[in-house]
Chain length 335, copies 4
């Protein structure tokens, strides 16, 4: 079993997809043990910190990577299977940020109203008990929520020579902020440049669907992913697979465009790989899909559309990459 | 136990919320056994029927009601607890409809492209096995999906003297098309006119989240609801309660506005009835909510935001109407 | 020349399109001299008034009408030619209104932020000089803007048995809030119910494109319109004609849907009445249209798309109703 | 007078804002004579060409530049005054492009419908008569439209280390596609990187407001711009100035967000530079602005909000850069 261990030096962090040289080369079939810093660069440490004072906006959401995937060429697909995602510290942090988030005006949804109060919440993470504890700032409500670690961000270099901020989700992946990106999930990303240039970051101890205030329970993570490469198969939008479901993460604005993208690509996928007629696929999705919001706070919004594999014709999905990488992950974990 | 049994004559059906006289008066605390016709008025009966030829658009989505709720005044809230929802026939039907649905241009999202093919799908309903069976029109894929009966439409007369088509969801309820409106759920609706003028219809054997093509597995239903009235408590948007969750169904366009409405009203609810500070409520929702799409096909889109009651401070919700009506429903079912 | 003079009693005002009996019957070819109250029902009279305290939201934007147009049947088109629109008082008023307007969160674009300050502006109207004078509340900036009187609202009863608030613009017309609705313009509205049930109101001394804060320079108006009826010709969306241009006013949300509607209907109009192929019409509109925003503040947003008649093939538009009604108006004015 | 003449070699063209080294350095106060290729790289030459076959999407919309503006630092503003824009050939071309444009589904507004027919239109440009002539493909309608040359694209390198395709409009300028970008206009752009890295291209012989089908009358241009630099003054969104108006070009999705941005920045500008209180500025804009659509077809949509300088308090705008550069341009033109 090939294992690559990588912990970025501060100077190696990146804040974009595309536009930076690779930090390592990785061979498909390899397990990558990677440490990712939290979205605030680890700079928020106490209750008196304030995002708007502590963090330069250029340095929000640092990524570990990019990794040059050996053999990846334009038109291929990289598979990223999350083997495990574990909080690297015993706390996480969330915050309101002025003019950022879903229930405030923003730079884009611009109004003349003042910003909401900037307030920080620290969460205790109990990895053994699998909880992350919310404490109200006012009053005394406390509740232990289930720990459900995930990566807000995973992506490759974009097409059309673009370089995008790590705050952006789009066809290249990026800041999708879906809780579906947890251990056990395989994420398929279309390759736009030689080597794919894969990065990931933005660990969340958990988040609700939509990441309402724009900030989940942010945390550094010790993560293990298994990397696959499907040659000659293109992937237009990030697709996900678990043991039970396939999904598409569509991004755009307005939110119905993100919804349309995720649905249209799921229908195309069912037609291409599962042998369904397009309208039959449209009909089956109509009655059977689940459709949780991912984020309504980033420069593009993201919707996930998912369907149970049990409802579909039998088919080999991405040459059974999910099964293969899951096997690799199990071997590693039991190893 | 007061039980009111009502099966509309064809001439009694209505196609609007508001604007029609009540068919019956109902006393809070009463159980209502009501039959609802399917969204096509029962006129689609065979595979050669076509919605666009068979149905006059004025007569889509007939409602049973309105029911005049005794004592309901402006500023009160009506509680509708779904005790049971059972398909009245052994089949359901879905269809594409020209320029209607989520993956086509429409009258509003207008383009110059031609309509998609109009195609009907009949589903066998096996009430005993609790399945509803999809058969592909092309090829031979067949799958038995779980039967999960629900009402697409439940609502009261709107405010501002308006009368709205039964195709529309909004603050008065209406065509929200959320699968959460199943047996076991209590729906709270703010009263805008004396007597509330409650109607329901649009039974679905099941639907995916979003009702992608615009048409679920449409069916006539034998439904039992328990009716409650909470005096002096206003409800700005439809709210739902189950044994495990509270939810808000927000409607609007674009879809992010439906999302904002459902979130903002959930935060307001947590602040008003659960004693949380507004920003603390915003934060807790950010980490803990679930947010499934309801519909992206109607004149307004609908999003549901839900949170587990276990994560909230203990509180009496709408004077425990859900518990009380659930008890009433159980007595009826065991009766 | 048939002239109908109508000044509503307070008890005759209406606040909806549809749902109210006609105040008068009018024969096509008649001139209607009509007085319209301002959007605040004339109740805002001094600088200390506040909309949110002074006005019950049910009584915003009263309409004069509805007028039963003799002979109008479903599928016909009513033509309303504005002969003259003159402010009935020597002042107009505007105001910010909490959670209403374009640069604030609203009931639909819901956030947790506080409302903007509620502030009133009174404008002096000088009908002789054709000016309406803005005075800043803070500092001493004063400017005489051109008087450009128009009606924010003109419409007929909606289809599908609906009754809509006079705050709403849609396919039936209503609160479109476009400055194009000035003297010299003919507005074509499709008839949805027998008699059409035409109403108008919401006079503005002037407004910018978009009606940014949601409130123009509101004023009661002495208005003269000439009424025409085009039998057997349907009109899907409000269309406007001046001596130089034809236009479509499309309404919906998001704003791009209002834009799409106005463009798609203009292209359809060019194809149906001017003999252009659909794609040629699409191309000509691409290079030649003007596209000013009408409103981004009402329950639906409205966009106007216009094109010069000089750029189009010669054609008889609505059987030359504009020319005929313009002639009628000139005869009246010189009469 | 300093004049820099620049005609790019094919190998010097660029397709992004940011990410490419400068082709020349330019000193503020210099006149730049620049040739720009058309959006199709000059590769569409005959009626049988088809965009989807002839053009690699990576090479759509080539830019001339970037120019390194001497002394430009982050937080400054570059002023680009268009002295003259003249078509370099005697023809222009437009086309429908599959799944691109305003009245079709697209990659983002995704549906299952087929693409519209791909069709090309060639326009004769008569520079002496100042006309550009449309000929219908079907039937025989021909019309000479006014020649109104403009640049669809002008911009600087983006912030946050991003590199954006030349198809994108945003805060850095880019593919705004507003007909206001004609000779006589000064465009102010905020500097995000040292040297600003200014590029321009995408000449249009004319376009309607919105660029409906996504393609204007595309043409290579001989353009002269005068370059200014305003030190220490930041500009959040592209602002424009003519002899009569000031304007803001806001970009985003949905279209109401582009609208909000353009309005909010105009209000901020009036408050910062013209001494108006924010709410007074909001009010004056409400009654006095013009608001034409720029594009509803690009990855972001663009709206322009404009107001007459005559309606505003007297003020020095960007240290009178427009007047100064206009003078420079007149001196150049008078030879």
């Amino acid at each position: 079993m090939d294992v690559l261990r990588y912990r970025p030096e501060p100077a190696e962090l990146s804040w974009t997809f595309g536009g930076v040289p690779p930090v390592r080369t990785i061979r498909p079939g390899t397990l990558l043990e990677v440490w990712t810093e939290d979205a605030f660069g680890g700079n928020v440490r106490g209750p008196e910190d304030r995002i708007s004072r502590t963090i330069d906006p250029r340095f929000l959401n640092p990524q570990s990577g990019p990794f040059y995937v050996e053999g990846a060429e334009v038109g291929d697909t990289v598979a990223v299977h999350f083997v495990s995602i574990e909080p690297a510290r015993d706390w996480g942090v969330s915050s309101t940020i002025p003019f950022f988030g879903g229930l405030t005006s923003t730079m884009r949804t611009a109004t003349l109203q003042p910003a909401l109060e900037e307030r920080l919440w620290f969460y205790e993470v109990d990895a053994a008990a699998r909880t992350v504890t919310f404490r109200a700032a006012h009053g005394n409500h406390t509740v232990a929520l289930p720990l459900d670690p995930m990566h807000g961000t995973v992506g490759v270099a974009p097409a059309l020579y673009e370089v995008r901020s790590s705050l952006v989700p789009d066809a290249f992946g990026g800041n999708m902020d879906t809780p579906e990106m947890r251990a056990g999930t395989t994420c398929y990303l279309g390759v736009n440049v030689e080597g794919a240039m894969l990065s990931l970051g933005d660990g969340h101890c958990r988040q609700g669907e939509g990441e309402t205030c724009g900030v989940a329970v942010e945390a550094a993570m010790d993560t293990v992913v298994a990397i696959g490469l499907i040659k000659g198969v293109a992937t237009p939008w990030p697709r996900l697979e678990t043991d039970s479901h396939i999904m598409v993460a569509g991004s755009g604005r307005p939110l119905e465009d993100a919804w349309r993208v995720s649905h249209q690509d799921l229908v195309s996928w069912l037609a291409r790989d599962f042998g369904l007629d397009h309208l039959d696929a449209y009909q089956l999705v109509t009655q059977a899909c689940e459709c949780p919001v991912a984020n309504v706070v980033d420069p593009n919004y993201t919707m996930v559309t998912k369907i149970r594999k049990a409802y579909l014709p039998k088919a080999s999905i991405y040459r059974d990459a999910h099964a293969e990488l899951t096997g690799l992950g199990k071997a590693y974990l039991s190893g």
